[in-house]
């Protein structure tokens, strides 16, 4: 188990290092001068040079890479070119929107999808199954931003129950803040739930056909007990894998959803930072998002070990 952990942690660090190199290189070749972007069409050459020097854009590339990397390691993320505030502060302000949004969407999709998927498997080929799978098919096909607009038209414009967008802020109270996050979370969760429900269904169906289920039933377990104690538990590994993958998709999904609902989250920040050539913010955020994905995958690996005792011995058989 220790060896397993050490190996995974090493891989994690290596992935992040490579990610940092890639994003730095991409930002270097990306056309567009951050100083020109700030100062616009009337700026004079000397003014541009003054601003470039102020931003620290005038050193050799390798020096700037290692300065930046060193900063990342010591937790010094630098200062945003455009906002002129520490990047760490910008990220802190935005994480309190994006993270709860992602978690809310994730919980919603899990809470809907797993019971629904299990139900569909248990009622294989019967009305409940067909209905659920039909709905899931639709859910997979609908783009989340379009679904988001529908939600806004119905619940904000017509019914007026929820705000059309924006974030009230946590200081306005948990209720108000959650009200602002509800529609975006539903819009994000629906397509995820559809995929997750399909995966859950097929995983449970597969385990239901295994010999140990027949044995359990032969021992006298009821259908229901065999389903929940044996089939579902063994079906969790593919489900957890998909959940881990979905988390990355959720992070990408927030970029679009935060535009539609004008939420001040990380997705909107990265979108603006790219357009404004706020390169330091883009670089920091990409590494942060890469780190999040890598850490989540690491947690998924740990979850395998918890779910499947065979893996704890370090023999990863698949």
């Amino acid at each position: 188990m220790t060896l397993f952990l050490v190996r995974r942690l090493f891989a994690l660090a290596l992935t992040l290092l490579v990610a940092s190199m890639v994003v730095f290189a991409v930002m270097e070749v990306l056309p567009g001068d951050p100083a020109a972007m700030m100062l616009g069409v009337n700026a004079r050459e000397d003014t541009l040079a003054a601003l470039r020097a102020e931003m620290g854009l005038d050193g050799p590339m390798l020096v700037r890479y290692f300065q930046w990397l060193g900063g990342l390691v010591t937790g010094e993320l630098g200062r945003s070119y455009t906002y002129d505030v520490p990047v760490a502060q910008l990220i802190r302000d935005r994480v309190v929107v994006s993270l709860p949004l992602a978690l809310l969407a994730m919980s919603l999709s899990t809470l809907i999808a797993i019971p629904v998927g299990v139900l569909a498997a248990a009622r294989h080929n019967r009305l409940a199954d067909v209905t659920v799978m039909g709905a899931a098919q639709l859910g997979v096909a609908i783009p989340n931003f379009w679904f988001a607009m529908l939600l806004v038209i119905v619940f904000a414009v017509e019914l007026g129950w929820l705000p059309a967008g924006g974030f009230a802020g946590w200081e306005a109270g948990i209720g108000e803040a959650l009200r602002s996050l509800l529609l975006p979370a539903v819009a994000l969760a629906l397509p995820q739930a559809a995929i997750l429900a399909r995966v859950t269904r097929s995983a449970v169906l597969e385990t239901l056909g295994e010999d140990y289920i027949r044995t359990a039933r032969a021992k006298g377990l009821t259908r229901r007990a065999a389903l929940w104690r044996h089939a579902v538990r063994n079906a969790l590994i593919p489900v957890v894998t998909i959940l881990g993958l979905q988390f990355s998709f959720l992070l990408a999904g927030t970029i679009i959803i935060e535009q539609v609902f004008y939420l001040p989250g990380l997705g909107r920040l990265i979108f603006q930072a790219i357009a404004q050539r706020d390169l330091i913010v883009v670089k920091d955020l990409v590494v942060l998002l890469a780190a999040t994905v890598v850490v989540v995958n690491f947690l998924v690996d740990l979850a395998y070990a918890v779910l499947d005792p065979r893996l704890r011995a370090g023999q990863r058989g698949y």
Binding site: T47, P163, A164, G166, P264
Partner: protein, 491 residues
């Protein structure tokens, strides 16, 4: 809370609504969030749209009609030769941090903007200044190198607002000005909140607070207006959706003018565009009204030169090159391109550019000019097109007020060079008399129209939409601003 009330009760509330006191807050929608809030250190229009006249003030200010008015300078005199400007400053004005405003602040502001490490995006405003000093604490005297006709107007721009030495370093995030509103809160990515400044030197604004909310997606902007989450958009991002508001009695739609001359810019240094006959041929092939109808949904005024139609010096040159495909073909044949040619058209992100580009490419295809459309981001556009001059055609709106002078600049991205035009501009700089200035401006318009430097398309309209009960928002935008000083709700 009202959102939770059942419909009937809500209806009853609406009926008694007018009897209640008028609102004294406003939520303004904006497309882009300002990168920071210091207008003396950035070019983004969004900065001025939040702080101009609301938070920061200059010696002069520009009114809705584009007229120069007194600001922090109560009055001024200009010497006979147009070289010496004597400003009398307002007394008793305090910055938001309670420090007193006086001539020292003016000297500091101007010297900072003119200095070696200045990051003022419009440093050219201060270029004509030879010396500046203060004979007394409330008097400032500026001597110019040469007479500069537009100097007072330029001092009224956001780049020239007066800042205090105590607060310049933090103005980007916590702006300290002298205006009728203070910035009370900035939730980055979401909104900026302003609150009435109780110690304002002038007349107190009717609004006690104002919020600028940043919503860039046009569909989201419509939803926010329809749901009542936003009261006003001074510049609504999608002209195609305006009719939706026009039909709704809850809103008023106000189409005003801007200083944005939208042009099909041509690289005058590249073949075959360096041949005036080719440029004339293109001008004859442009159907402006079709572009305005198709790309701008009918909003916009055709232009025949690089000049705003609402300016008193405007000369109507729409018919200088009327739409005439036969003439176009003759000119192209004379120039040696009877079958047309291929070129690129680089389009920046705004919808006016992308949509006009599609239509113009189709119009030019009719005379055999095949344009390859290349969409670019602003940062790319600035680097490749504007600074690098690496383009054949592009479409952009030049939003600076009275900016015909760019045609005299060396190395400007059009690569246009006509000594006759340069002479007119030099003469204009030294001319203060309004009638003489207008005459020179008229000549300038004619020269660039004759030379068909660019394809002159249309003056960008300002698509305003706001709550039917709101009064006092600017209809036109002579400078990029949302001046809230006169805004109030109808009782």
């Amino acid at each position: 809370m009202q959102r939770f009330l059942p419909g009937a009760l809500l209806g009853a509330l609406m009926v008694v609504g007018p009897a209640l006191a008028a609102r004294d807050d406003i939520i303004m929608g904006m497309v882009l969030e300002p990168p920071h809030l210091d207008p003396t250190a950035g070019a983004a229009a969004a900065i001025d749209e939040v702080v101009y006249a609301n938070v920061f003030e200059g010696l002069t200010r520009v009114s809705e009609e584009g007229v120069v008015q007194p600001g922090l300078a109560e009055s001024w005199t200009v010497s006979e030769d147009g070289l010496v400007y004597d400003f009398k400053l307002r007394e008793g004005v305090r910055f938001h941090d309670d420090t007193l405003f006086d001539a020292e602040d003016v000297l500091f502001t101007f010297q900072r903007a003119m200095g070696e490490d200045s990051v003022n995006a419009n440093k050219g405003i201060f270029e004509p200044i030879y010396s500046i000093d203060s004979p007394s604490p409330y008097a400032v005297s500026i001597t110019l190198k040469q007479p500069t006709g537009n100097f007072l107007f330029e001092l009224g721009l956001g780049d020239a607002v007066i800042v205090a030495p105590e607060s310049t370093d933090s103005n980007k995030t916590q702006p300290v000005g002298t205006g009728p509103f203070t910035v009370s809160r900035w939730v980055s990515g979401d909104r900026v909140e302003l609150a009435r400044n109780p110690d304002y030197w002038g007349e107190a604004p009717a609004l006690a607070s104002a919020t600028f909310k940043f919503i860039s997606d046009p569909a989201a902007a419509v939803a926010a207006m329809m749901a009542g989450d936003v009261d006003a958009y001074a510049n609504f991002p999608a002209p195609e959706l305006m009719s939706q508001f026009e039909a709704d009695p809850r809103f008023q739609v106000v189409i005003g003018s801007t200083e944005g001359e939208t042009i099909l810019a041509m690289n005058n240094a590249r073949e075959p565009l360096n041949d005036i006959r080719v440029r004339q041929a293109i001008s004859h092939a442009l159907n402006r009204q079709a572009v305005i109808d198709g790309a701008m949904f009918g909003y916009g005024t055709p232009i025949g030169s690089h000049f705003a139609p609402h300016h008193p010096a405007h000369v109507d040159l729409i018919d200088r090159y009327p739409y005439d495909l036969d003439r176009t073909r003759t000119l192209l044949a004379e120039a040696g391109y009877p079958d047309g040619f291929q070129a690129t058209l680089k389009l920046p992100p705004p919808s006016y550019a992308r949509r006009s580009g599609e239509i113009i490419a189709a119009q030019l295809a009719e005379i055999g000019i095949e344009l390859e459309i290349i969409p670019v981001e602003w940062a790319q556009w600035l680097e490749q097109v504007f600074r690098g001059g690496d383009y054949d055609f592009t479409i952009v709106s030049h939003t600076e007020p009275l900016d015909i002078g760019i045609y005299a600049r060396d190395d400007y991205y059009f690569n246009y060079d006509n000594p006759e035009f340069d002479t007119v501009m030099e003469e204009l700089v030294g001319t203060v008399d309004p009638a003489a200035r207008n005459e020179l401006l008229g000549r300038a318009q004619r020269i660039i129209a004759d030379d068909a430097v660019n394809g002159f398309l249309f003056q960008l309209a300002k698509h305003g939409v706001w709550n039917a009960d709101l009064r006092g928002l600017w209809h036109n935008s002579p400078v990029q601003a949302n001046d809230l000083t006169g805004v109030r709700w109808e009782e």
